[in-house]
């Protein structure tokens, strides 16, 4: 150990000797120590959310052993989480820039309204209707983004205005007191139907195998060039943990959860696959492309990004377009779950839940820090609280207070860890 750490003797070849810690793959122990140092330095990532999820599961399972852990409820919980997670995923690029979109929830409501109207009143196919919904979402994001980036109005104010204004649009679209039913089989299937059990297992195992192969391929490429890489043992531990969680979830969801003996409900709800596909897609965009890198850069230091030749305004607009388009998808998932779009769709606590999900998952409200997966982990936490409290038959006010407190707690953790990071410089 000590010989590895020692500084190279003078005159020795620099490239070989300088970056000692890069050259060899760090040991598992070293990686764990580095991780502990990161935690102490305030960089908690998704750890609080993951631990919180475990605690919530234990608490609710203890309080409601019959209902909470039943396959029916788990499937229900995941479906509930999907709309929150999708909206939170959309918010992440906006949060990474240090901006906020308060209108994302109602944007989803408006987009779902246009989709439902298109099917219900004009008899369109679901494909066209969904495309129209997405276009509405994208258009809202474009206007918000231009107002924020080009006119320089704080995003807080622009999106607060849209939060109010868009509810009026939904109201006009639907009509006072009315609702628009969503009866399209495909759209309804997103949340009420599940993938056949065998097919579900195949998809999960193929995904796991592909992910494992990707990890191995990347590790071997880094090793071939002798670049910095995590220890293979750590990757293995992470992969096994992920595989165990996914396989257990699949096993639970593959059980028959029907209350009626005459027909069978089993398999992974399609909504989970929608979330999974979006998670993979956006993780790839924000982790592996220059676009994603630039979003992080703008969130970290806007002036540095500008000087590096990055078009900051265009990036801001694009982030709001992504956010509103994802909000449209989230709104359509919610409409599928409810079977209708009502004037209040996307209002109320929808946005609060999504922001809460992103922040609980470890995304910073100060910009520059966060991962797409935070939205999914945080979305599960929020949905678990919502679902578990529902099973406890608590009054609605308790639900609001607890969820609000959790959001405040997560934001406090974010603020404190930021202070620690700037204090310790890690």
């Amino acid at each position: 150990m000590t010989t590895e750490q020692a500084s190279p003797p003078p005159g020795q070849s620099l490239a070989a000797a300088d970056f000692v810690n890069d050259e060899a793959s760090a040991s598992l122990g070293e990686s764990l120590r580095a991780y502990r140092d990161r935690l102490r330095g305030g960089d908690m990532g998704a750890l609080p959310a993951a631990l919180g999820l475990v605690v919530l599961f234990i608490v609710f399972a203890a309080l409601r052993p019959d209902s909470f852990t039943s396959p029916l409820n788990i499937a229900n919980l995941m479906t509930q989480a999907s709309a929150i997670s999708v909206l939170a995923m959309g918010l992440i690029p906006v949060l990474l820039l240090g901006e906020i979109d308060l209108s994302a929830g109602v944007t989803g409501g408006v987009a779902a309204g246009f989709t439902a109207v298109q099917i219900d009143r004009h008899g369109s196919s679901w494909v066209l209707a969904v495309l129209i919904g997405l276009a509405v979402g994208a258009a809202v994001g474009l206007v918000v983004g231009v107002l924020v980036a080009k006119l320089g109005i704080p995003s807080f104010v622009v999106t607060l205005a849209f939060f109010l204004g868009l509810q009026g649009v939904t109201l006009k679209l639907i009509g006072l007191g009315g609702t628009i039913p969503v009866r399209d089989d495909v759209l309804r299937a997103i949340t009420i139907k599940s993938m056949p059990v065998t097919m579900g297992w195949i998809v999960v195992i193929v995904l796991l195998a592909a992910y494992g192969a990707l990890l191995m391929w990347r590790q071997s490429r880094l090793a071939a060039k002798n670049l910095q890489r995590p220890p293979t043992s750590l990757l293995l531990v992470k992969f096994v943990a992920l595989a165990v969680i996914m396989l257990i979830a699949t096993a639970v969801l593959s059980q028959n959860r029907s209350r009626v003996p005459t027909f069978v409900i089993a398999g992974i709800p399609y909504a989970v696959f929608v979330v999974g596909a979006l998670l993979i897609f956006w993780t790839f965009i924000f982790g592996r492309t220059g676009y994603g890198r630039h979003i992080y850069a703008v969130g970290g230091n806007t002036e540095a990004a500008r000087r590096a030749g990055i078009n900051v305004d265009r990036l801001k607009v694009s982030a709001f377009v992504i956010c509103s388009s994802m909000a449209a998808i989230s709104g359509i998932i919610t409409a599928s779950y409810d079977g209708k779009v009502s004037p209040g769709s996307g209002g109320g606590n929808v946005l609060l839940y999504a922001v809460g999900a992103a922040v609980i998952g470890g995304t910073s409200l100060f910009g520059g820090k966060g991962l797409i997966r935070d939205a999914v982990i945080g979305g599960l936490v929020i949905a678990t609280i919502d679902n578990g409290l529902g099973l406890l038959n608590q009054a609605a006010y308790i639900n609001y207070i607890i969820t609000g407190s959790v959001l405040l707690l997560a934001a406090s953790v974010d603020a404190i860890s930021r202070r620690r990071r700037s204090a310790t410089g890690t």
Binding site: F19, L222, A297, G300, A304, A308, R421
Partner: protein, 259 residues
């Protein structure tokens, strides 16, 4: 003497009614450190930003390797190989060293995938070529670096692109003794590698130690362009504060007129 790498002739720049640069002539030679000194408000930053293409000169000529060129924006300056390291360094704390060095100019495979292998490799080669020994890992987050290390990363970022001229805006202003030493060594090595280096500094000891030529600005005019070996501390201070020292510098009449 060899041909200047970059030469400015008769550059004027005004902001509204205020003329900040008066007929400035400025030369940067390859393999030399040219110090740009002057009091606050003498026009150092304006001159640097004009060279970098952030400001456009009102009049005057630019020559690069003897050929007349025009610099309309930062992209033009970058295309010529002119890089500026600003005092605030312009690093993203949330990104690591490699990511910062390639910011805005990422290497790609298949057109859109970030090529992390190539970037990490080149970042390491660049740091090694500058004999940077202090950085533990090129995948460290920049927020975990010391002031001197951050300066080093910012300079390495500037020279990564086969740049020809590097302008350093007060690179040692916020550093301690040991870190100042590291950065000055690095500045010298840049010049020894054949680059034209412009060093802006208020520290006359640093300037005399590391530079080959000194250009002193006084109220937007070039007071003197002299060899570092032919001058001394007090003479530079006089040039900075009064615009003239003995028989060199701008005439008393011109100095009064400017003031």
């Amino acid at each position: 003497m060899t041909e200047p790498l970059l030469e400015l002739r008769g550059v004027n720049k005004s902001f509204g009614a205020v003329q900040v640069l008066h007929d400035v002539n400025f030369k940067v030679y390859p393999g030399q450190v040219t110090a740009l000194v002057g009091d606050n408000g003498a026009g150092k930053s304006t001159l640097v930003k004009t060279i970098a293409g952030i400001y456009r000169a009102d009049s005057g000529e630019f020559f690069f390797e003897g050929k007349p060129v025009t610099i309309h924006g930062p992209k033009d300056a970058g295309a010529l190989g002119i890089e500026v390291v600003y005092q605030d360094l312009a690093l993203c704390d949330n990104l690591d060293i490699v990511q910062n060095m390639f910011l805005g100019r990422e290497a790609h495979t298949a057109g859109f995938l970030l090529d992390e292998l190539t970037m990490e490799d080149r970042a390491r080669q660049t740091l090694a070529s500058l004999s940077v020994r202090t950085v533990k890992s090129v995948r460290q987050s920049v927020s975990s670096l010391s002031g001197g290390q951050r300066q080093t990363v910012a300079i390495a970022k500037a020279v990564l692109w086969n740049s020809r001229v590097v302008l350093l805006d007060e690179p040692t202003a916020a550093l301690g003794v040991a870190q100042t030493r590291q950065v000055l060594d690095l500045v010298r090595r840049l010049a020894d590698n054949g680059l034209g280096v412009v060093l802006i500094s208020h520290n006359m000891v640093d300037v005399l130690e590391v530079s080959d030529r000194i250009t002193a600005l006084f109220l937007g005019r070039v007071a003197a362009d002299i060899k570092a070996s032919e001058t001394n501390h007090s003479q530079i201070v006089e040039l900075i504060t009064a615009g003239r020292s003995g028989d060199i510098g701008i005439s008393a009449a011109t100095a009064d007129q400017s003031a």
